[in-house]
Amino acid sequence: MARIIVVTSGKGGVGKTTTSAAIAMGLAKKGHKTAVIDFDVGLRNLDLIMGCERRVVYDFINVVNGEATLHQALIKDKNCSQLYILPASQTRDKDALSKEGVEKVLDELSKTFKYIVCDSPAGIEKGAHLAMYFADDAFVVTNPEVSSVRDSDRMLGLMSSKSRRAEQNLEPIKEYLLLSRYSPERVKLGEMLSVEDVQEILSLHLLGVIPESKSVLNASNAGIPIILDEKSDAGQAYADIVARYLGEEKPHRFIEDKKGFFGKLFGGK
């Protein structure tokens, strides 16, 4: 049986696809056979972030409709043999996905994969609902910003009432906070919600903080999941997140302001 992870947020542009690509790659690199599915039908982007956009032949909807087998549609990652990508359809609209269709695909994947990462679209419509419906674990990607925090809370509410686990009175989805685009300098200046603030408001278990980092754009430009950039702070943050998720003890990093010369001059202490 695979463990199904949904990467969700409610709000768009907070880093769901970046996170999906990074953690799927991280899990696969740890030796776990992992599939990552793009649920954003009509606006697929996971293929670009994973750098496999030119290898897409069949997609998720083709498999749901029986026009292609799962084996035909899955794209084997070029960097890691344990990782497979199931792209979203670019042409069909969101109604092409059904609960039964998604369940069928997930059931089939569960037979051979250890982890299935579902990259949710933004919003709370059908695609987002189906992405989280079958989940065992939820990675809630949140930016330290009011609208993102509010939307995350809304998403948490939906997961606790409208998911399979909620409807069948099973053990609830395990929810984790991934705080992305964090800037310790701005937190220190009182310009940004701190990790404690966000945790207090959402009462979520913190899986990791991803610092605001230029390397994220560089990685997406190149189509290489950020976790493979082991020198970058964001890449290291995702590596920590994967390790913590798998049960390793890792102290949290990237929360404190690392002061430079000017910081020392003006920052006291």
Binding site: L193, S194, L202
Partner: protein, 89 residues
């Protein structure tokens, strides 16, 4: 106390403002989310019953639903008009 701290304290931090606004909003949205969906209808029907006996307006009836770990409370508050006796049929 560094030079920067002096400027920092001179203005209210926008982060604390954000936190305060979010806490109020999230608390409010969580309670309304858990409310039973029949509340507006219940309010309407109750109002009609009360109106048979007293001349009350829509604004004079309040329904408040509260939930804690042990129980759910439905609080009903109707403000009767001063001359309610005269309106009884």
């Amino acid at each position: 106390m560094s030079l920067l701290d002096y400027f920092k304290t001179s203005k209210t931090s926008s982060a604390s403002l954000a936190k305060e606004r979010l806490q109020i909003l999230v608390a409010h949205e969580r309670t309304s989310k858990n409310q039973p969906s029949y509340l507006p209808e219940l309010q309407d029907e109750l109002l009609n019953v009360v109106r048979k006996y007293a001349n009350v307006t829509q604004d004079a009836i309040f329904i408040n639903f509260e939930q804690d770990e042990h129980q759910e409370t439905l609080e009903l508050n109707i403000i009767l008009p001063d001359n309610n006796g005269k309106n009884k049929s």
